[in-house]
């Protein structure tokens, strides 16, 4: 029950409010005209940008994070390396927003201290690299328990039966880890999709992704503020997450088929 209340207040209620506002005009009456902005090519560009950034950084973060997590997990479980990595990941996964953007700007931006790279301003590779800075540690944190679940005996059994390393990963380790890997990738996707403060501090003269445009729709000083447009954009993001979640559920079912 408390969980239901929590979900109700923080998930269902905001979704309903977004839905209601998306179908209202500026004076509060019912209207479908607000949805027209979704057909605008500029607005579609924000959704493409959001999807691109979230996809690149979630897949990249998941692959690199999984490799790192495996490397760390295969070391001494009580060792100092593992503890250092986990503690470090815990800190870095939370490192974002203005501080992260500014750290990159001062270090490797076009007039940075270490490296003068102007491609850093290109979308999505510049901001994507910055996102990986918190995506990889997050992957390490959420994926480590799954790797720890792999028993050494299974590997030994595979080797005893003459299996190669490739066969082990193809038929034992891979299928075992796949559901967890997909789940973690989805978490990273949602994390990147909803991240806002970092890109806002990094390059806010142009809107590339939907949350930036929502901020403009809510707070424009130059007469373009339109809270209903913000709600329509938010609705678009809800739909995006629903699509990804559905795809994930299907994949998950496929990946975990043998578990049933």
């Amino acid at each position: 029950m408390p969980f239901l209340g929590y979900v109700g207040v923080f998930l269902l209620l905001p979704t309903v409010i977004v839905l209601v506002h998306a179908f209202q005009n500026q004076s509060g009456g019912f209207s479908l005209s607000g949805l027209k902005v979704l057909g605008d090519s500029t607005v579609r560009g924000y959704f493409v940008g959001s999807a691109e950034l979230a996809a690149v950084t979630s897949v990249g973060g998941a692959v690199l994070g999984a490799i790192l997590a495996y490397a760390v997990a295969s070391g001494n479980p009580e060792g100092v390396v593992r503890r250092l990595y986990l503690a470090g990941s815990g800190v870095l996964a939370q490192f974002g927003g203005v501080t992260l953007a500014f750290a990159f700007l001062a270090t490797v931006g076009p007039s940075g201290l270490l490296l003068h790279a102007s491609w850093f301003y290109n979308f999505p590779e510049g901001i994507g690299l910055i996102y990986l800075y918190f995506q990889i540690p997050l992957m390490v944190l959420v994926f480590m328990p799954a790797i720890d679940g792999l028993k050494v005996q299974w590997r030994e059994a595979c080797e005893n039966l003459g299996g190669s390393a490739w066969q082990y990963w193809r038929h034992v380790g891979g299928p075992l880890l796949m559901p967890a890997f997909l789940g973690a990738t989805l978490l990273l996707f949602a994390n990147a999709l909803s991240a806002f403060a970092t890109i806002w501090a990094w390059e806010n003269q142009i809107a590339y992704i939907v949350p930036q445009q929502i901020a403009i729709a809510l707070s424009s000083e130059v007469g373009l503020a339109n809270a209903n447009e913000g709600a329509v954009l938010a609705l678009g993001m809800v739909i995006m997450v629903v699509v990804v979640m559905t795809g994930y559920a299907l994949l998950q079912r496929r990946a975990a088929r043998w578990l049933r």
Partner: protein, 326 residues
């Protein structure tokens, strides 16, 4: 005047909102007012925005804590006239006609012109087209997204005027930023004091009073206002029609628009802002010439965007800005 002052002293208090003491010399203005009339000034939410001011007037309506007077962005003044009481200060005729409401509901107070602030490592900039040169790689920034931030929209509009466009059509300004982007000179990083200090945004389009070396906190910083492209941006004063201290509110306006040496107009000037009565004060010699000479030099006739021009520019930017610089 003396009856107004007596009534205001009887009220004893004045509520102001969203006036940071370091902004446009407000610290000295408030203490000068208190010293002269013995009226206590309550300064609420000093770092608030124009929207915060409007919200406070509505939400605190009828209470003793409601703001008496507002110092508000031009667009917000136009959009909220139903909240204001008309008043004409005694120097009313010295405020240019384009900078006040004829019915006295609002009147601009201080502001400045759109300018290009730049690090002196680039030498001296004498023409905006220099910014397309190769030494300005990734250097040129606006102060925000022009579809959201007023200063950024005016930055594009100024470029538009330099390029020969009119206030009715901002397309040449957008085209200039497109050229900057093509040259690799446009920086998408929003300029703040921190990015200027770090050297990440060595060229910034912003209001001249926000581009002063003393304000950005960098000593090797210069300001250039392109000739014949003087775009004005001013704040406006207005009195809350349900002000809890109506006489003190009117006396405050008289103080702000006073041309005396220690009056509001010269105090704003001392803070690096251009007081609205500057032209009149220059001709009647009441202006503090030492402070006036510290402002960036300008030549030409100032342009002020009308609401219709502002809307047209905003709509054009919505459709074209992202394509031009994305």
């Amino acid at each position: 005047m003396s009856t107004l002052a007596a009534a205001a002293k009887k009220e004893g208090t004045l509520n102001v909102i969203a006036v940071p003491p370091t902004w446009a010399n407000y610290g000295a203005i408030i203490s000068g007012f208190t010293k002269k009339y013995g009226i206590k000034v309550n300064s609420a939410n000093p770092t608030g925005t124009s929207q915060d001011e409007v919200n406070a007037v509505k939400q605190e309506n009828g209470t003793a804590a409601a703001p008496d007077v507002l110092d508000i962005g031009q667009a917000f003044a136009l959009a909220n006239t139903s909240l204001f009481a008309p008043y004409e200060v005694s120097t009313w005729t010295d405020i240019p006609a384009a900078q006040k409401a004829a019915n006295g509901l609002w009147y601009e107070d201080y502001g400045g012109y759109m300018s290009i602030g730049y690090s002196s490592k680039f030498g001296t900039i004498t023409s905006m087209s220099q910014l397309l040169g190769s030494k300005f790689k990734n250097a040129v920034a606006l102060n925000g997204n022009p579809t959201a931030a007023n200063a950024a929209l005016n930055g594009v509009m100024m470029a538009n005027l330099v390029e020969g466009g009119t206030a009715d059509n901002i397309s040449k300004g957008v085209n200039f930023f497109h050229q900057l982007k093509q040259a690799g000179n446009f920086s998408p990083v929003s300029a703040t004091g921190a990015t200027i200090k770090a050297g990440t945004t060595p060229v910034v389009f912003n209001w001249d009073y926000l581009n002063l070396p003393s304000y950005v906190g960098v000593s090797n910083w210069k300001v250039f206002v392109p000739p014949n492209a003087i775009l004005g941006g001013y704040y406006a004063q207005a009195i809350n029609k349900n002000a809890p201290h109506p006489a003190a509110a009117r006396l405050w306006e008289e103080f702000l628009y006073s041309q005396a040496t220690s009056g509001g107009q010269n105090l704003w000037l001392a803070g690096g802002a251009r007081p609205v009565e500057q032209a009149a004060m220059t001709s009647n010699s009441s202006i503090n010439t030492a402070d006036a000479s510290k402002l960036p030099a300008v030549s030409g006739t100032p342009v002020f965007l009308t609401q219709a021009q502002n809307t047209a520019a905003a709509n054009y930017l919505t459709a074209n800005w992202a394509k031009a610089v994305g």
